[in-house]
């Protein structure tokens, strides 16, 4: 970039300034307060704008306020410049308002303002030079010590300052070195502190947090412990309540048990007293039996048993004898009858087995021939039916019609039934007669007598002709009648007769058919019947022979012949067989009677034995009855014919004596029990029961129910007493422990620390600690990133700086130094001289060379840190102010050489510098007296 012209309408002390800048070196000289530094600032403002305050910066302290024109006129400036590629621009800024107006115009082209914006600001310097204002100030704007940064110091310090300046430029565009930044960050970290440093905020917060957390832990433990104690208290209270309830239950149960015992005792005493009274009465009643011979009871009982048994046996023997006596008489009568019957059956035939079998075979054959006899009967029925049918045919009146002509006679009768011709002519005759009569009457009525007569005659003629036709023309009916009279003489040929014959012809046909069928049956069965009759006759003969051989008597036969002989024969055979069967029955009856007689003989013998037995049993019973009577008399009991009743009376007496003795023993026992139950002191028992009822009622029990309950024995009552005692002890123990625990809990609960308070405090400590830790972390990260960034930038920048400086230094020193080495760590610069093999630290070279190296390093940095590759003009503000004349000349010569590729704007109060530049003869250099330039007027900015 080469600056061409600066126009200032108003800026600080400058007013209406137009300054044309030479391509290489422009020396702007003037007295102090002439506005030389203001020109430099105006160039910067043109390229980068001016800060006008704003967020975080007060307007009144801003550069915009500081550089307002002194005369309060217009406030603005413009700068024209050219880039290396030949493009030329003019940037104009109007600064009257805080919101400045900037415009960049490509000379010979269009407005490019928007292309040169960075955010809201128009910054041609940033865009075209590639460096921001800070870098520009640090590298291109040099004051008095820019060329000798550390003039008062010794060489090593000056070198360090140079390195530091380069570091500052490389690290933050001159604001601070990375090392300084890291130092500040470390200071900040120190302010935050560490967790181990208890006096630092972080350490204090951490320590406090740990303390609070420990307290919190203890508080929670105490809370939990107290809660457990509360639970224990609740458990103890529950235990005490349960024990008390158990004790109460036991006591209630014990009282109920005792009441039940008392109730039972009182009830038992009443019962015993009642029983004693009853027993006393009984013993008094039974006292007479005290000496009853109870020892004979067994014998008497045995006697009674034997006697009863013997009486039963004797009675049974007597009863059987009584029963047998009648039976014996009946048997004797029956035996007499049997003897008579046997005598009567004495002539009955005797049949052997063969006869019996033959008789049965013949009976079977006779039964078989019964079918033939039925066949003969059917044959007789058929003959009778045939005769009947013939009578029915005669009754039809059509017997004159032969059976074979019935079918042919039917059509003839139908034809004959059609009637004669005259029947068809009669309507004609009647009609003609009527019409003729009417017509004749009409003619006569009208006075046409002749016509009427003619008409009447004509009608009569017609009638006569029709009568003749009827008489002589007969037809097929007539012929049929004639044939019928020939075939069936005697047939009624009148119309009524024909009609009747026609109606009866189907019946006639049926009757003829039945008759023929019956006659056919009779004819066919006749021969078969004759064969069967012969066979039956032979069978009958055999039957009669059997009857004769046995012999049995057969009734005399009836007289029958012809077809009826078969039935008769069979009847005869049956009679013979019946006689045989009767003989058989008589033989069987005789055997039966003989068997019955033998049985009756045995029964007669048994009856006699029964009579003897009855007599023996009666004697034995009498003997035992006498002995029993003796015992009864010994016991003072009256004699009783009924042995059972006598024995019962004896046994009753014995039983009464035993009851007496038992009642006496029981009475003694009851009296002892009554004595044991405290009979005689019922009042004490009542008092005791009342006391128990009261206690039970007090414990919620029901004395009435308890008194009726099951009484408990002493063991159970003792167990209840023990259980109640234990429950009482347990309840007392639990209550005692609970009481102590409750008091302790009151103290514990009141002294419990508030967890919420501690949590709050913990949270507060955590807030502080986390804030500090976050600060530390951010600071650490910033340190790490700055360190890393600086290292990378240094490594990248150092060789480029070395190359840039080496090129220019060789040119400026005419090859005296041809190589430069820049240490990337600390930017320590070493030079290589032609005369020496090693690298010379910059602090060991001459002061002039060192200043040159310093300036070249700044220029190199503008190239390295800038992105555009555009040469940056050097704005030198009286850098040689305090230099001696020789050194000033040397420096001016160096600048003249440097201006070959770097434009220099040098302000100075020393006219000699201007003179030296003017006298150098180098083209593109100019010396301008600022006092003269500012007298011109009328500069327009936009």
């Amino acid at each position: 970039m080469r600056l061409e012209r600066l126009d200032v309408a108003g800026f600080g002390r400058l007013r209406d300034l137009r300054l044309d800048l030479a391509p290489r070196v422009t020396v702007l000289w003037g007295a102090n307060e002439a506005g030389k530094s203001t020109v430099h600032r105006a160039v910067r403002v043109a390229l980068y704008g001016i800060a006008a305050g704003g967020p975080g910066r007060a307007v009144e302290r801003s550069d915009w306020v500081r550089w307002q024109p002194w005369d309060a006129g217009s406030y603005g400036l413009a700068l024209s410049y050219a880039l290396g590629d030949g493009r030329r621009y003019r940037v104009a800024r109007r600064l009257e308002e805080r919101e400045q107006v900037a415009q960049v115009q490509q000379i010979g082209g269009r407005d490019v303002t928007d292309r040169l914006r960075s955010g809201r600001l128009v910054v041609p310097g940033l865009v075209h030079l590639g460096i921001d204002e800070a870098v520009f100030c640090a590298t291109a704007c040099l004051g008095e010590d820019g060329l000798r940064p550390d003039a008062p110091d010794a060489a090593p310090q000056r070198a360090d300052r140079l390195q530091e300046a380069i570091q500052r430029l490389a690290d933050s565009a001159s604001r601070a070195t990375a090392a300084e930044a890291l130092g500040r960050l470390r200071q900040a970290m120190d302010r935050v502190g560490t967790e181990g440093r208890s006096r630092s905020p972080l350490g204090a917060a951490t320590a406090r947090l740990r303390r609070v957390e420990a307290e919190l832990l203890r508080a929670r433990e105490r809370t939990d412990s107290t809660a457990r104690e509360m639970e224990r208290l609740a458990t103890l209270e529950r235990t005490a309540a349960a024990a008390a309830a158990r004790r109460s239950d036991c006591e209630r149960e014990w009282l109920a048990g005792r009441l039940a015992v008392l109730g039972a005792t009182r009830r038992a005493m009443a019962i015993a007293q009642e029983e004693a009274g009853r027993l006393e009465t009984l013993t008094e009643t039974w006292r007479g039996f005290a000496t009853f011979p109870v020892e004979c009871e067994e014998r008497v009982t045995a006697l009674g048993g034997e006697l009863r048994q013997l009486e039963e046996v004797a009675a049974e023997a007597q009863r059987r004898w009584n029963d047998a006596r009648e039976h014996l008489r009946a048997a004797e009568r029956r035996r007499a009858e049997i003897a008579t019957s046997v005598r009567a059956l004495g002539r009955a035939p005797r049949l052997d087995r063969d006869d019996l079998e033959q008789a049965r075979a013949l009976a079977a054959e006779v039964a078989a021939e019964g079918a033939e006899a039925r066949r003969a009967a059917e044959l007789r029925t058929a003959v009778a039916r045939a005769a009947g049918l013939r009578r029915e045919i005669a009754a039809t009146g059509l017997a004159c019609i032969p059976a074979g002509d019935v079918d042919t006679v039917g059509p003839l009768i139908a034809t004959a039934s059609t009637g004669p011709q005259r029947r068809r002519l009669r309507p004609l005759q009647r009609g003609t007669g009527a019409v003729g009569a009417l017509a004749a009457l009409c003619a006569l009525a009208t006075g046409h007598g002749r016509v009427g007569g003619a008409i009447l005659l004509a009608a009569l003629g017609v009638i006569a002709v029709s009568l003749l036709v009827e008489r002589f023309a007969g037809g097929p009916a007539q012929a049929a009648r004639r044939q019928l009279s020939q075939r069936c003489p005697g047939l009624d040929l009148t119309e009524e007769g024909l009609r009747r014959a026609s109606a009866r012809l189907p019946d006639l046909r049926r009757l003829h058919a039945d008759r023929q069928r019956q006659e056919l049956l009779v004819e066919a069965g006749r021969a078969e019947l004759e064969t069967a009759t012969a066979r039956i006759a032979e069978l009958t003969g055999r039957c009669l022979q059997l009857a004769a051989r046995i012999p049995v008597e057969v009734p005399a036969p009836g007289g029958t012949g012809g077809l009826a002989a078969a039935d008769g024969l069979l009847g005869r055979a049956r009679q013979a067989l019946t006689a045989v069967a009767a003989g058989e029955d008589a033989a069987r009856r005789r055997v039966e009677l003989e068997t019955e007689d033998a049985q009756l003989a045995r029964e007669e013998s048994a009856g006699r034995e029964l009579r003897e037995e009855a007599e023996r049993k009666a004697a034995a019973r009498t003997e035992l009855g006498d002995e029993l009577a003796a015992h009864l008399a010994g016991a003072g009991l009256p004699a009783d014919p009924d042995s059972a009743r006598a024995v019962a009376a004896f046994r009753q007496g014995a039983a009464t004596r035993r009851q007496f003795e038992a009642a006496r023993d029981r009475l003694d026992e009851v009296r002892r029990r009554l004595a044991a139950m405290g009979a005689g002191d019922e009042r004490a028992l009542a008092r005791q029961a009342a006391q128990l009822e009261k206690e039970l009622r007090r414990r919620g029990g029901d004395p009435e129910a308890a008194a009726q309950g099951k009484p408990l024995d002493a063991t159970a009552l003792r167990h209840l007493e023990i259980a109640a005692e234990r429950a009482r002890d347990a309840a007392a123990s639990a209550l005692n422990e609970a009481s102590g625990l409750r008091e302790r809990l009151h103290g514990l609960l009141d002294s419990l620390p508030s967890i919420a308070d501690l949590e709050d405090e913990r949270a507060a400590c955590m807030v502080v600690r986390e804030r500090a830790l976050r600060q530390l972390e951010a600071l650490r990260r910033a340190s790490a990133l700055i360190e890393d960034s600086a290292r990378r930038v240094h490594r990248e920048v150092a060789p480029r700086l070395a190359a840039s400086v080496a090129g220019r230094l060789a040119l400026l020193t005419e090859g005296a130094y041809d190589e430069v080495h820049v240490d990337p760590e600390r930017f320590a610069v070493r030079l290589h001289s032609r005369g020496r093999p090693d690298l010379i630290p910059v602090e060991h070279v001459s002061r002039g060379t060192r200043d040159q190296v310093g300036l070249l390093l700044r220029l190199a940095l503008t190239e390295v840190l800038g992105e555009a590759g555009e040469p940056v003009p050097l704005l030198l503000d009286d850098p040689l102010l305090s230099s001696d004349p020789r050194r000033r000349r040397t420096a001016v010569e160096f600048l003249l050489r440097l201006s070959a590729d770097t434009q220099v704007l040098l302000t100075t109060a020393d006219p000699a510098v201007a003179e030296q530049v003017a006298a150098s003869g180098v083209d593109g250099c100019a010396a301008v007296n600022l006092d003269e330039v500012t007298t011109r007027r009328g500069v327009r900015i936009a």
């Binding site: 975080g56 940033l126 690290d171 709050d760 405090e761 930038v793």
Partner: protein, 381 residues
């Protein structure tokens, strides 16, 4: 059947208030204030003739609640007799082993819902209250899951997050859809969880909100709601505003502040403006400091908070430093120095980072680094 009850939720007894800048005595006052809120709720229930008090969860905070709080609740509920008290534990007071619900012996008028699903408790003839308990602080089941409840009038009491009106960032405990309230046959759902009051008769949904503001963003009306069920089962709501504490959020522009003193002065002014008309001793103020400030301006926030609290008498003052240093970050990132490399590296890291905390940390890193590289003192924030 007409029945009147008072519904309250989200008391958060024994809450730690360090998160909102309350420590020590102020925090204790705040906790006592929560107990007072419950006492006032009971008194309001008595005065309005309520038959019962329903508490929709987060009655206390399990992590911080001590036995003293348990005793307080037992005594207070016992003093409310014959009013009945229905408790439906929420996520902060889940029915856990060792919780106050299990440790304390509750008076007879207290009914604690213990089931993980809605269970009925009779209120009056034909009127039932169904409730459930969070048995796990991380429970995320649907409280309204299940079949229709049948005939009669039924109210539901539970702690849950209605998905349609869920505030941004609010945790999801017991999520449910408002449509399911009518779907299951409930005449109203008496809920807890959201700290902002929501009375929605159309959706049959009631969130009374926390009776006292617990965080700075809990502004607006809040507190118990009287619920009246008529003979015909119509439910009417009467919100009560009983809170004594107020939460205020306010911005303070520090742009152009050249010194920390000036910044403190501006903060005081903004705080006075925010607290005008309020009782400062029961106010929680959060000031958000905004604007671009001088990069060299080092603000010590605790000191500023103390100064503002002193100036206003506010119970709690919390500052949020949302200022940004007046540094041309883009320009810094554009230069080729180590500062530029540092700036680019941090900006790239910020771009890569999704975690807001990490991004904030990187922002501080950039701020501190640029301050250090700018040659000034590093001001900690």
């Amino acid at each position: 059947m007409p029945f009147r009850l008072l519904h309250v939720s989200d008391l958060h007894l024994d809450r730690a208030f360090a998160g909102v800048g309350c420590f020590g005595e102020v925090a204790r006052r705040r906790r006592e204030g929560l107990r007072d809120a419950l006492r006032r709720a009971g008194e309001a229930a008595r005065q309005t003739g309520c038959d019962a008090v329903t508490i929709g969860g987060d009655l206390y905070e399990h992590e911080h609640a001590g036995l003293d709080t348990g005793r307080f609740l037992v005594d207070l509920f016992a003093s409310w007799q014959p009013m009945r008290v229905f408790l439906a534990p929420g996520n902060h007071d889940a029915l856990l082993p060792g919780s106050l619900y299990e440790r304390m012996r509750w008076p007879a008028n207290v009914h604690l819902f213990t089931g993980a699903t809605l269970e009925p408790a009779p209120l009056a003839d034909g009127l039932s209250l169904w409730g459930l308990a969070h048995r796990d602080p991380a429970w995320s089941g649907d409280p309204l899951e299940g079949p229709e409840v049948g005939s009669g009038v039924h109210l539901a009491l539970f702690h849950g997050a209605e998905l349609g009106g869920r505030p941004p960032g609010k945790s999801l405990h017991g999520p449910f859809q408002a449509e399911r309230i009518a779907g299951r046959g409930f005449a109203a759902a008496l809920c807890g969880h959201y700290h902002r009051r929501r009375v929605d008769p159309v959706a049959r949904l009631l969130y009374p909100g926390s009776p006292e503001p617990l965080t700075f963003d809990e502004e607006g009306g809040r507190g118990p709601v009287v619920v009246e069920v008529s003979e015909r089962g119509v439910v009417e709501y009467q919100p009560l505003t009983l809170n004594r504490w107020t939460a205020v959020q306010h911005d303070c522009d520090l742009a152009g502040s050249g010194s920390s003193g000036e910044a403190v002065e501006r903060a005081r002014g903004a705080a006075r403006e925010a607290l005008a008309g309020l009782a400062p001793e029961r106010a929680m103020l959060r000031l958000s400091l905004r604007g671009e400030v001088d990069p060299d301006l080092a603000l010590d926030l605790p000191l500023v908070e103390a100064a503002v609290a002193d100036a206003t008498g506010a119970a709690t003052v919390r500052l949020r430093d949302l200022t940004s240093p007046a540094i041309d970050i883009a320009a810094a990132a554009a230069d080729r120095t180590a500062r530029g490399a540092f700036t680019r590296a941090v900006l790239a890291a910020i771009d890569r980072e999704d975690d807001p905390r990490e991004r904030a940390l990187l922002g501080d890193t950039l701020r501190y680094g640029l301050q250090a590289l700018g040659g000034g003192e590093v001001g900690l924030r």
